[in-house]
Amino acid sequence: MKAQKKPIIELKQVSYRYDKENVLENINLSIEEGAFLGIVGPNGSGKSTMLKLILGLIKTQKGEIHLFGQDISRFKDWQKIGFVSQKANSFNTGFPATVFEVVASGLTKKLGLFKFLKKEHHQKVIQAIDSVGLHPFKNRNIGELSGGQQQRVFIARALVSDPKLLILDEPTVGVDAQNVQSFYQMLDSLNKDLGITLLLVTHDIGAISDKVTHVACLNKHLHFHGKTAEFEELKKDEMSDFYGHDIHILTHNHDHHHHGGTEQ
């Protein structure tokens, strides 16, 4: 495929089935260093299964997965991969912890048992909070923040251990429409300014098409995997087939809150 840059993630001929049903069939995917890949697909398209495979939460049945050039079964460097789930609407919002404390908890594994936060770790935590634009809130209880801000806290928690790759699963669920824009802008700067490779999974094609560098469309099979510009050309006609009905692809000056098909 693309040999010029090192792929950080590579999936070769990956299939996966639960009981008798195929969830993923013959997936080939590679993500280069520095890319911002958006994976789109309707609900039930196998997006979360694919993430679980990449994160090593479930074992591969067929095919190969390489992370940072290493076979996933031998891969140990999990600190290089940060993961942010659809947390903002599911965690205990009454939890009495400050933004700082939550972000610092991202260092737990890296520090190891019986080690305490030192000055340089404090700086790291502050840096991570700054990079998601939450500096003024660092000493607030996390429950006082809005859904979008809470999601940023979780991104900061993932950033604090210096991941090379950040995987985000539907990060804008629970973020109100007017804040989605600035949320993507923040992701953009993580990608461009800090050089973090991003993998974003969403059902919301319109929202990401002008931010990501690469797009992959998943629905059991991978239908398209390439540069965003190429995707733009084919999206209207092909996408309707792909989603099974007409969809509206909106550009960013529109409210893109309710579209994208089969969700909820």
């Binding site: 404390e101 908890s105 000493n139």
Partner: protein, 279 residues
């Protein structure tokens, strides 16, 4: 009363023990409350009761057990109960809360049998149920001191892991920390602290010393460390003033301690309401 404390060993024992459990009960209580495990404390305290009743029964009926400190068997039962709860939670994956009523009723049932077989509800048992100012011996005090040093050291050493486990159990497991072992150590600590605290507050009220100060603290604290700090502060106020009242009014300390904790909780709720209105 200061004179009394200087003069009587039993008062020294009671107050020193009170100061210690005023720290460790709310300290573990913070983690219990935020992890929504409050009822586990209740279940374990009832299992502790079964252990104490069993010990009293053995002491009365078998010479070999005479002079056995009931606290030890209480602790053994409490720790065993904690292990059973963990086992049951794994068995009933989809009904994890079932483990608590099973262990709780099992504990009371066993306790009732041993109490009936011994003497019925005598003053000794009443002391264990509602706490006592006069029942704490020097040996009890030393045992409780050792437990508290162990608990405080472990909480400091495992603070990061305990925090992550409490805030986000899924993430804790996924991130590869030894979540299972940390949880196991935590549950054992809870079992020990419950058995250690029952001399002063009594079996029936132990769990309230772990939860009420935390409930008050959560209302007003910012951040997790402050929540712990305020919880311990409220715990200390409750225990010390509760013990004093108990001594002067000749009321079981469990009652006075818990009612003061309730009072503190009400005050914090009202204070919070007031500050919101004033804003």
């Amino acid at each position: 009363m200061i004179a009394g404390i200087l003069q009587y060993e039993f008062l020294q024992n009671a107050f020193l023990t009170g100061i210690i459990i005023g720290i460790i009960a709310p300290l573990l209580g913070v983690f219990i409350v935020v992890r929504r495990l409050s009822l586990i404390a209740d279940a374990l305290s009832h299992v502790t009761l079964a252990g104490i009743a069993a010990s009293l029964y053995l002491e009365k009926n078998f010479m070999t057990f005479s002079g056995l400190n009931p606290m030890y068997m209480g602790m053994a039962f409490s720790v065993t109960g904690a292990l059973f709860i963990e086992k049951l939670r794994a068995v009933y994956k989809h009904y994890q809360e079932l483990a608590i009523p099973i262990i709780l009723s099992g504990g009371i049932g066993l306790g009732a049998i041993f109490i009936s077989l011994t003497d019925g509800l005598n003053t000794d048992i009443m002391g264990y149920l509602f706490g006592s100012v006069s029942a704490v011996s020097r040996i009890d005090l030393w045992t409780i001191l050792i437990i508290s040093i162990l608990v405080i050291t472990l909480v400091i050493l495992l603070y990061k892991e305990l925090f992550l486990l409490s805030f986000d159990e899924e993430h804790a497991k996924a991130s590869g920390i030894a979540a299972k072992s940390v949880h196991f150590i935590f549950i054992i600590m809870v079992a020990l602290v419950i058995a250690a605290s029952m001399r002063i507050v009594g079996i029936l009220l132990v769990s309230s010393l772990m939860t009420l100060p935390v409930a008050a603290s959560i209302r007003i604290a910012t951040g997790f460390k402050q929540t712990i700090l305020f919880s311990i502060l409220f715990g200390e106020i409750s225990v010390l003033s509760g013990l004093s009242l108990s001594y002067y009014l000749d009321i079981a300390p469990g009652g006075t301690i818990v009612m003061i904790a309730v009072l503190i909780l009400i005050i914090t709720i009202l204070m919070k309401k007031l500050t919101i209105k004033l804003k």
